[in-house]
Symmetry: C2
Subunit: 179 residues, 2 copies
DNA sequence: AGCGCGATGTAGCACTCGCTACAAGGCGTC
DNA sequence: GACGCCTTGTAGCGAGTGCTACATCGCGCT
């Protein structure tokens, strides 16, 4: 019966899978527990309360996302800022990333509602992305710091527009980005 | 006791006020009813079910938002695309708009989760904004259609970053927008 | 073997959710 | 006044919420 002891480490991958599939903000203990093959009782036992569980889950998911990004992108730099935006949008548009973005907008909504754990998680994810964009900007970029911020803002705007079904707007403006 | 008959028209402003204050995605009938001075029973009676209530509320809120935008902005055009972005960010950063954006991220999260009513509402709001940006672009803009898309995407990216407490990123890239 | 303690199952609490059954109120029409 | 209908109040249903009390299981240690 595979009676392996439960722990945060064995639980988190299963919980993450469920949350990626079904969203974060209205995930409740019993469905989460079922997905992990246990009971709500045990989730509370191992994490203390739901808030702590969600915090642990966020950390785990952020690490998953970072790993996915690293493995999905070629190591080199883009030729132009615009190419950098396009490259990111193309890769993050793949189905494997869609689940993450579904989650991302749950997190943003939570941030807008004042959820501190979400704010912290979102901030560090953005720091990671900013660093990543900086590293993938053209080597001859005249101002990588400012450029990375412009590029990241453009990417996020395009992704929000994609989330509401208007990717035409986000992609339609790209040709106006200086090469 | 001011026994005015209830109707969607008398209810919607009160419901909208409650939702602007407390968020949309986890608004439930009883608090909504209390805010409107009535009972959940009557909300269902007048709107049929919660889904229809939310749809009506979205429409009402979109009209409110459009009116707020129109009255908050000066009628003229911006001098540059960058100035257009900055002008919008400055005005929508005012406290009066914060409630709307809190709601907006609830809507985006709902869109990402596949909510059709949200998708439709979000799409038409974006159409409105795109038109608005087009009308406020510099008169000599070489390609208003593309420019408006670039500007709107940049605005939305900056607003998402502001929602998660990182407005520094959104505004930090602006100086790299061609004048 | 027996003890101790962390891990787990069962059952349940008090609460909220969207929604409904039923009956009564209020008002216009004849 | 009497009828009829739109509107409203009271109460409650069945399901789901986060969380807890209590008892038991099973493993490691002596």
């Amino acid at each position: 019966m595979a009676k392996t002891r439960l722990s945060r480490e064995t639980l988190l991958p299963l919980l993450a899978a469920h949350v990626l599939e079904n969203g974060l903000n209205d995930a409740s203990l019993r469905p989460l527990a079922k997905a992990a093959g246990t009971s709500d009782r045990m989730l509370i036992y191992h994490f203390g309360n739901k808030q702590a569980l969600v915090a642990a889950l966020l950390e785990y998911l952020a690490a998953m996302f970072a790993a996915s990004l690293d493995s999905a992108f070629p190591p080199g730099r883009a030729d132009t800022r615009r190419a950098c935006v396009e490259q990111v949008l193309e890769i993050t548009g793949q189905p494997a990333f869609q689940q993450f973005f579904r989650l991302w907008w749950d997190i943003v909504a939570g941030c807008a509602a004042g959820n501190r754990a979400y704010l912290q998680a979102a901030g560090s994810i953005m720091d990671m992305l900013l660093q990543w964009v900086t590293d993938h900007l053209p080597a001859d970029d005249p101002d990588p710091q400012t450029g990375a911020r412009l590029v990241l803002t453009q990417i996020e705007g395009a992704q929000m527009l994609a989330a509401i079904g208007r990717e035409d707007i986000g992609k339609g403006g790209l040709s106006a980005l200086e090469t």
